[in-house]
């Protein structure tokens, strides 16, 4: 292992240490996510005034926009840990990358459905080939490809490495897709109405949005912790520390 990686990080990379660390972090992150989420919902649904153009309909953005951000953010996290997993062959990085994918897919799915709900009112149809929605759809396919490839292998670690490689190809692809879809949209003069226009945002709308963004980040850390813990138990089932946990839970 390279010497520039601090010792504590190296230690955290060992499965039993990370398992305990994630176990301690998990409830705090969940509590934080729930509290911040409730505050954001109150701010967004009750305190923020109706938009003078769109009425109350715009309130969908308080879940739509943070989910869209998370979809991209999680793909970034997945790609970075995929890179670490491939270069340094660290098991924990593989697990983090592979367990991030379903969470990212969930957020992308939320983005698509809420975007479509908003679209019904704006465009009068459930689906329109708007550049952003199309990009989100492609992002969902990228996630599904990574998840599908991971599960196609008999050997979990081999699957993780192959899927990590696919995630890296995908991260190069994301900006290309975004660029090409935008070009395609201008070519065919499609709808260019944006759900998240900066001009119409007032302070009372922005703070619930930002709070919700932090809440979703906390939720992601929480969900990732639970997933990585479950995955580590399965992957390391031959090791002593896992046996102790299994034995401890029977005693209770």
């Amino acid at each position: 292992m390279s010497s520039w990686i601090p010792l504590w990080l190296h230690k955290l990379g060992s499965p039993p240490t990370f398992y305990r660390f994630a176990g301690k972090l998990r409830p705090w992150m969940l509590a934080l996510a729930i509290v911040l989420g409730l505050v954001a919902l109150y701010g967004g649904l009750v305190l923020a005034p109706p938009d003078y153009q769109q009425g109350d309909d715009y309130r969908i953005i308080f879940v739509h926009v943070p989910s869209a951000w998370m979809g991209l953010f999680i793909y970034g996290v997945m790609a970075v840990s995929a890179f670490i997993a491939l270069v340094w062959r660290i098991k924990l990085a593989e697990v983090v990358a592979m367990e991030s994918a379903p969470i990212g897919a969930a957020f992308t799915l939320i983005t698509l459905i809420t975007g479509s709900l908003w679209g019904v009112r704006m465009w009068g149809t459930w689906w329109t080939w708007d550049a952003r929605l199309t990009s989100e759809l492609v992002l969902l396919f990228l996630y599904l490809g990574v998840i599908g490839l991971y599960h196609a292998f008999e050997d979990r670690r081999q699957g993780a490495r192959a899927a990590a490689f696919l995630a890296l190809i995908g991260i190069i692809n994301v900006p290309i897709v975004h660029f090409s879809v935008n070009w395609w949209n201008t070519l065919h003069q499609g709808a260019t109405i944006r759900l998240f226009g900066p001009s119409t945002m007032s302070g009372s709308m922005i703070w619930p949005l930002l709070t919700m963004m932090v809440a979703t980040k906390c939720y992601y850390v929480f969900s990732l912790c639970s997933r990585v813990r479950a995955d580590l138990l399965a992957l390391e089932s031959g090791k002593d520390w896992v046996r102790q946990i299994a034995a401890g839970e029977t005693a209770r």
């Binding site: 050997d155 979990r156 670690r157 992957l235 390391e236 031959g238």
Partner: protein, 209 residues
Amino acid sequence: MTVATPPLLAASALSFYRQDEPVFGPLQFELHPGQLALVEGDNGSGKTTLLRVLAGLLHVGEGELFWRGEPLRRDHCAAEIVFLGHQLGLKGDLSPRENLHIAAGLHGARDGMDPARALLDVGLAGYEDEPVRRLSAGQKKRAALARLLMIPAALWLLDEPYANLDRHGIALVNRLLEGHVAAGGAALVTSHGAVSFHGGEPQRIRMHA
């Protein structure tokens, strides 16, 4: 043979893991030019895995490999190692001659050796232009063995070379191995059958299940 010549291939504390379960090892051995090693062990003791690790198809789990005394680097030794596994690497739609031409194109050929001669040596004269898929299992094996004669490699890694062969075929493998070892080559052979080898007592590598 002097002590100063480093072993062709050496392994130190070599082991391999699959899903954190040890498949074999730690293994320790040295293979000198002109030496034959038999890898012995029961089914599932990791013989095939060892050969695949040595060939470079699998990553070394733990421990180190040395090639002519230096830490092994694949780009240095790839030309000198030939691997013959369970899958023979022959295209069924091509003739033995065409298959050997491809092997020679990828690996190079020994001086004065051509596909026709190699096929004659393994007893496939008359079958040079028959598609491989029409050959019997033993004949396919012989066609694969012809590759060993064709390719200029110092180390042969043979996984179960005796499988599917009749008495004459087994004698052929032994003859090929003796010739290779006499010419200063080395070979690592897995087999769960008895091997009667006339060119001196082979080194034995024991795998534990």
